[in-house]
């Protein structure tokens, strides 16, 4: 039986009170709930406060470049589909620097779970606006407030018919754990955008602010209804719906490759006799 202990307990470099703490806990709880052992899991992250997460629990880890967790996760999953692959990073990393890979990963529908610590700010670099910062959000680098409309990851993911699209909030542990479990269970690309207060640089979207707004989707909600999902995905303001917003069952990317039908690449030897035949076609 896997327990929380198996996932370890580490000193972090996060600020006291940061929303990353409950997120880390929820992630561990979800893994325990799934009965997964640390070595079955690979967590790939980018760079940022959020991206430090995999250093704070037991798992296989690839902590790569800012913005590039998704392609690394995809490569690893294709090399060994037996791995449970989680890509984890911040809003800046996933939706800013990594925006193009976000689009690519959704289109492919590869079976990875993407956990985004969305604190609506660049935490590690000390408080510049992030893609999800709200219009008018004032920072040192945006003294006149943000001019751009915020990036709505859920609206884009639903518009692109992503496999699984959900929002969580670190202030609602059980709900978050359940959402992560469902994301891991979903056999395809799963996006979980998690509202995660940054107590140092985001004085607008605080625990309180989110708590007053986050409302779980009712159990009657049908995540397979695309049109409704699209409407839910753009809701933001007085009420922020959380839960699984959209879902479909298209086959995941790695299922398409003939090479993978024989098992993970990592176990396959090169068939040199076949190659010999191929070489002969060059004669």
């Amino acid at each position: 039986m896997v327990t929380l202990k198996d996932y370890g307990e580490y000193k972090t470099a996060w600020c006291p009170g940061c929303g990353n703490f409950p997120l880390l806990r929820a992630l561990k709880l979800a893994l325990v709930k799934k009965g997964l052992e640390p070595h079955q899991i690979l967590i790939v992250s980018g760079i940022g406060q959020a991206a430090k997460t995999p250093h704070y629990l037991n798992a296989n880890v690839f902590n790569g470049l800012h913005g590039r967790s998704l392609p690394v996760a995809l490569g690893a999953k294709l090399a060994n589909p037996n791995l449970i692959v989680i890509a984890e990073s911040g809003d800046g990393c996933m939706y800013g620097e990594g925006g193009n890979h976000f689009l690519g990963a959704i289109r492919r529908n590869i079976d990875i779970t993407v956990i985004v610590h969305n604190n609506q700010v660049y935490g590690l670099t000390k408080g510049q606006a992030s893609p999800t910062s709200e219009e008018g959000f004032v920072t040192k680098a945006q003294p006149d407030g943000v001019f751009e409309t915020p990036f709505n990851p859920l609206a884009i993911a639903v518009a692109m018919h992503a496999g699984f699209v959900a929002r969580g909030f670190v202030g609602m542990e059980d709900h978050l754990v359940e959402t992560i479990v469902q994301g891991i269970d979903h056999p395809g690309f799963s996006l979980i955008d998690i509202l995660q207060p940054c107590v140092s640089f985001n004085r607008v979207n605080t625990f309180k602010w989110y708590r007053e707004r986050c409302i779980p989707l009712p159990s009657s909600y049908d995540p397979y209804d695309w049109e409704k999902a699209m409407k839910v995905a753009v809701q933001w303001g007085k009420e922020i719906p959380i839960g699984v917003i959209y879902k479909n069952d298209r086959p995941s990317y790695e299922k398409h490759f003939s090479a993978l039908k024989k098992g993970p690449l990592v176990r396959q030897k090169v068939d040199l006799s076949k190659l010999k035949k191929i070489m002969e076609t060059y004669a």
Binding site: R68, P71, G75, A76, L78, A259, K269, Y282
Partner: protein, 558 residues
């Protein structure tokens, strides 16, 4: 031995099927026992413009392209106007009779009588085959193999008509000697050899974003991916491509990314990631003239110093620059082996010229070759497992994630031995040193430059990568005409080990570097590594490959 060569240039527009008939004819020549060397030129467009496919053929190994044309096969009139100046004194021009050209060796073929315009190219090689005295059964067979039976059917009769028409004429041509019972050879271009070399060494994953002239590597892998169980992913961009490859390699699939200079520029950050995370990855940079878009379909050797220093931070690497098709195959294998052994990015520099250059090679006995198996046996690892254990060689134990209880932690930060990020500054220099120590291992495995010729020669030509053939030909030519000349060719351009070659430079009366770039990059590098200054440089940077003739012209010039 007969050391004559003939040079055939097929010219026409993109879309006229030049490459197909050029390839068929090349294969016919090789099957007939001749050695060949193909050089292609084309523009950055899909239809129209002016393309060429040159085949130089001979009895002895053909090393290089040739500028003078012995047989010009003109699929359109522009071809004649552009190339007739290069025709040798006994050269022929094959073209459409209707053009009514007045050149003295004009072979006006009544193509119209053979069929629709789309078959004229086949007719032309029929005529050429007849002229060269090629066994028509060989060409017939190749045609069937290349076009597929159905398509071949109509073409076969046109080919035959070409042969027959030629037979009815009385053009005088001094053919290459007939070769009886030729031993089988492979016809392969540089990028096919890279791709097949990669597969043979264990490649399981390739990610790419299309870019000339690198696409043909990915395409060759795709062509054989189902048979060889290789996963090839067309990525959203080059940054994704290399990060995917790094991810796949981390998880145990030997990986490669083929690209060109501009695409590689986008990969530079991830090169650095491969270095610090100590993840094997083989990167092929198929060079073309820059800066930026430059000349997308031409050739250059302009990225040596760029690739040598690409990536922020300091780490060891090896860079190969194959000068022949065989080297394309075997050096790719070597790159994979070093990449796995030393756990980091390794580089191969090809270029447009060698990428497309079909040549005949000795069959490669792939079944006798070894292939790499990534990672160590987890059972032989002591606990706690330390991904970045500090060792004397700098090489740390690499395990693959998910295959045992050991957790494999790879990191882009400076890290402790267990892979977790650290801000402990006393660890930093130890890790830097550990990574750099792998460079010593790499230095101990360097393939020395190839020296051909006699020591203490009048002229020593220094070259690297694809220009080898032309330089070798010139050196041989000069030597046979009384000027002692030799060649020093770097097929591995980094690391550079002065002891392997400095004496050659010092012994020669004159050293001349020959490179397809404008600044003389290998000369710079040799200066830096040995202090030896190469004063005379023959450089070419108009997008065409270095030819023996180009070298000879520039030798005379001063």
């Amino acid at each position: 031995m007969d050391n004559r060569c003939i040079n055939i240039l097929i010219g026409g527009e993109a879309g006229q099927g030049l490459q197909t008939i050029g390839f068929i004819f090349s294969k016919g020549l090789v099957r007939s026992g001749y050695s060949i060397h193909v050089h292609q030129t084309y523009e950055s467009r899909v239809r129209g413009g002016h393309n060429t496919y040159s085949i130089r053929a001979g009895v002895q190994k053909v090393l290089a392209p040739q500028e003078e044309i012995d047989l010009l096969i003109a699929l359109n009139e522009e071809t004649i106007d552009r190339h007739k100046e290069d025709l040798s004194s006994k050269g022929f021009i094959i073209g459409n009779a209707d053009l009514n050209r007045k050149e003295k060796n004009w072979i006006g073929v009544p193509f119209k009588t053979f069929g629709d315009e789309i078959y004229w190219n086949t007719a032309a090689i029929g005529v050429a085959g007849g002229l060269l005295g090629l066994d028509r059964r060989i060409l017939n067979k190749v045609l069937g193999e290349v076009l597929g039976e159905e398509k071949a059917l109509k073409n076969l009769s046109v080919l035959e008509a070409g042969y027959q028409w030629l037979a009815s004429q009385s053009f005088k041509w001094d053919p290459l000697p007939f070769i009886s019972n030729p031993s089988p050879r492979f016809l392969m271009n540089g990028h096919e050899a890279v791709a097949l070399g990669a597969i043979s060494s264990g490649l399981k994953f390739c990610a790419f974003y299309p870019m000339s002239p690198s696409t043909s590597i990915a395409q060759t892998l795709i062509d054989w991916s189902r048979e060889m169980d290789v996963v090839v992913v067309q990525a959203e961009d080059e940054i994704a491509a290399i990060n995917m490859a790094i991810g796949a390699s981390y998880a145990g699939a030997p990986s490669m990314v083929p690209t060109s200079g501009g695409g590689f520029a986008l990969m530079v950050e991830a090169v650095s990631l491969a270095a610090i995370s100590e993840t094997p990855v083989v990167i092929v940079i198929a060079q073309r003239p820059g800066p930026a878009t430059g000349l997308a379909t031409r050739t250059e050797q302009g990225e040596l110093l760029f690739v040598l220093h690409a990536g922020h931070g300091e780490f060891p690497r090896a860079i190969f620059a194959p000068g022949s098709i065989e080297e394309c195959f075997y050096l790719t294998r070597k790159a994979f082996e070093l990449s796995e052994k030393y756990q980091g990015p390794m580089f191969i520099l090809t270029d447009h010229f060698i990428a497309d250059s079909y040549r005949d090679i000795e069959p490669i006995p792939v079944e006798t070759l070894s292939s790499i198996r990534p990672g160590l046996d987890p059972n032989e690892i002591e606990s706690p497992y330390l991904r970045y254990r500090i060792t004397e060689s700098g090489i740390s134990p690499r395990l693959l994630p998910g295959l045992s209880k050991h957790l494999v932690v790879a990191d882009s930060h400076e890290h402790t031995e267990d892979g977790h990020m650290t801000e402990n500054l006393s660890i930093r220099p130890k890790m830097v040193d550990k990574r750099l120590r792998k460079g010593q291992g790499l230095r101990s495995e360097v393939i020395p430059p190839t020296f051909i010729g006699e020591p203490e020669s009048e002229i020593l030509f220094v070259c690297w990568g694809s220009s080898r053939g032309s330089v070798e030909e010139v050196a041989t030519l000069l030597s046979s005409s009384g000027t002692k000349a030799s060649m020093l060719h770097f097929s591995q351009v980094w690391p550079m080990i002065p002891e392997q070659f400095l004496h050659y430079l010092e012994e020669a009366k004159q050293v001349i570097s020959v490179e397809s770039n404008a600044t003389g990059q290998i000369a710079h590098l040799i200066r830096r590594e040995t202090g030896f200054l190469i004063k005379k440089r023959i450089l070419r940077y108009d997008g065409l490959p270095i030819t023996p003739q180009y070298i000879m012209r520039h030798l005379k010039e001063r």
